[in-house]
């Protein structure tokens, strides 16, 4: 039971990471550095509860806010860079964050434990959740609530003017600018909000695992975080969530196959892309789903020229 609770918790945390990449992607940008914001959120939220004695919620908010602010700071120079260049530039940012945490020491001795970011040792003993007697299931509830809240925001975004503006910028920046959309503001906003979402995921992660180190936010996490939205599809926010659910539950759930697990995992990514090159929930599927939910009235025969 605990095992499945842990898997579900990781699914939720990684879904946030996937949504973060998705949010940048639907503004027509490509980030390979969201794990950096994840790390910022994790370290700051961890410091909040473990070093400064703050409750969980303010710590999470603090981590998300700082990640979001840094997202905005990164968003401005990112405006100049496009496509794969942007992906690698943001990967550079993610690595800088990782290496800063590899070198930062800011510890306190609490009881007989050294707590705080401790260079290569990582940030250990973030025991808020355990000390307060939360069970794994209860903390999963918190994670699920956060993911659900973020998902609702994405749902509202999809139907809002801002969502339409994002998609317009993704489709054609020049055209978007000519109809009066402030492209700069939209893109930077997307970066900031995406940073906050990833930071939230990081904050949840460090409280879930009680521990984080620089190795956990390196290239493999970057690869995982772009895999969720691309495999899940960029047609709707359901895509990255579905991607995270599928891939994380596969990696963990296939433990019965333990020897062959990663072969199946890699093979499935390849096969999925061969069959559905735009991801599982692609634009065409979203359109069809919308028609199915709200069918358009059939045109009357007489009107057809």
């Amino acid at each position: 039971m605990d095992y499945y609770v842990a898997i579900a918790s990781i699914v939720g945390i990684h879904a946030l990471l996937g949504l973060s990449v998705y949010l940048v992607a639907i503004s027509g940008q490509m980030s390979f550095g969201q794990q950096g914001f994840f790390a910022i959120g994790a370290y700051l939220a961890g410091m909040g509860t473990a070093l400064w004695g703050l409750p969980l919620l303010p710590s999470l908010v603090l981590g998300a806010l700082l990640a979001g602010l840094i997202g905005i700071v990164v968003g401005f120079p990112a405006l100049r860079v496009r496509g794969l260049y942007l992906a690698i530039a943001t990967y550079g940012f993610g690595e800088v964050v990782r290496l800063v945490f590899l070198n930062i020491r800011y510890t306190k001795t609490i009881g007989d434990r050294v707590v705080g970011p401790n260079g290569a040792e990582g940030f250990r003993h973030v025991r808020y959740v355990f000390d307060r007697g939360f069970t794994g299931l209860q903390f999963l509830g918190i994670i699920a609530a956060v993911v659900a809240g973020v998902a609702v925001l994405f749902y509202l975004l999809d139907r809002s003017k801002l969502g339409a503006m994002l998609r317009a910028v993704e489709e054609d920046e020049v055209a978007a600018a000519t109809v009066g959309i402030d492209v700069t503001r939209v893109k930077v906003l997307a970066f900031g909000a995406a940073g906050a979402v990833a930071g939230l995921g990081g904050g949840l992660f460090i409280h879930f695992s009680s521990y984080i180190d620089h190795d956990m936010v390196a290239l493999p996490l970057a690869i995982a975080s772009i895999t969720y939205p691309i495999l899940g599809g960029l047609g709707s926010f359901v895509g990255p969530i579905l991607g995270a659910v599928l891939l994380v539950s596969l990696t963990e759930g296939l433990r019965v196959l333990h020897e062959l697990r990663m072969f199946v995992y890699g093979g499935l990514i390849i096969v999925t892309m061969l069959v559905r090159p735009r991801g599982l929930v692609d634009e065409a599927l979203v359109l069809r789903a919308k028609r199915w939910v709200r069918p358009r009235p059939m045109p009357r025969g007489g009107d057809v020229p």
Binding site: R80, G92, N103, T227, I230
Partner: protein, 293 residues
């Protein structure tokens, strides 16, 4: 010469020698991207696959280094064909992100195969160039670094000859420039793609041999390191520009050695990545990039 200048020059030499390994990695990514307009994220794993294949005759028969180099090339080419077949051949056209993911899938599969075959421990590799540093004037030169520089010179000479002086190279350049037009003129896209894969994979075999020689042991996690360096160099130089990749590789090498010497290992990578970010912001299409995508 004052001490500090002497040190700086020595690190400059080291950086240029080791940077030529980065240039080779970036070159492999770049040639493939230039011709096919696709990024092969499984390239780092192809490099490691070659190095691991060359361990088989080494452990079984204790073969000399040149046989290991050849078997590394053969192994990498075999894996490269597999990557082309699985990740690119049957992929539908016009979806930019799909090849990224198929090659990520392949990266996972190859790495896992290596981990399974070796038990994830580092395996001692041959040291064909000895341990003794060579004295060159006031400078000490590591022989394996020197070998990397020589290998890079040979490889890039061959590659530039191939691209600019042969029919195949002309066909490759035509496909890179205008795939449809090249096809109309009778160039087979499939053939060029496969041959480009063969070329870059053979290069991967050379890189695998020299990269592992310079580290001294083969470890599965080197694939991530190679992929990271390759991506940085490719983009730093400007996607699809071979000259840019060489420039980017040498620059990264020099920068890493100078910062490592003067500031210590912990600052080396921070500075390198900060510089990457800064360069891309100032020159959004890379160092040699006129052709922005």
């Amino acid at each position: 010469m004052p001490r500090i200048l002497l040190d700086a020059t020595e690190q400059l030499l080291n950086g240029l020698m080791y940077g030529s390994l980065y240039a080779l990695i970036g070159g492999g990514f770049t040639i493939l991207f230039g011709v096919m307009r696709k990024l092969n994220l499984a390239y780092g794993s192809t490099i490691m696959a070659g190095a691991y294949v060359s361990l088989i005759p080494f452990y079984l028969f204790g073969v000399p280094a040149w046989v290991m180099l050849l078997s590394s090339i053969a192994g990498a080419v075999a894996v490269g064909f597999l990557v082309e077949l699985v990740c690119f051949r049957f992929l539908r056209k016009g979806h930019e992100l799909a090849p990224l993911l198929t090659t990520i899938g392949m990266l996972i599969v190859i790495d896992e195969a290596i981990v399974h075959a070796t038990g994830a421990v580092g395996l001692e590799y041959a040291r064909p160039f000895g341990e003794e540093s060579l004295a060159w004037g006031p400078f000490l030169v590591r022989p394996d670094y020197l070998a990397i520089l020589v290998a890079a010179l040979v490889c890039f000479s061959l590659i530039f000859f191939l691209i600019h002086r042969t029919r195949l190279g002309r066909a490759m350049r035509a496909v890179a420039e205008r795939p449809q037009a090249a096809q109309i003129l009778g160039v087979s896209l499939r053939r060029i793609n496969v041959l480009t894969f063969a070329l870059t994979s053979a290069l991967a075999g050379v890189i695998g041999f020299f990269a592992v020689v310079s580290v001294g042991a083969a470890r599965p996690e080197m694939a991530v390191w190679l992929t990271g360096k390759g991506l940085v160099v490719t983009v730093l130089g400007g996607l699809g520009s071979l000259r840019g990749a060489i420039l980017g590789g040498l620059l990264l090498g020099v920068l890493e050695f100078e910062t490592m010497w003067f500031l210590g290992t912990s600052y080396r990578d921070i500075l390198a990545f900060l510089l990457l970010f800064a360069i891309l912001v100032v020159r959004p299409a890379g160092l040699a990039g006129a052709r922005a995508t």
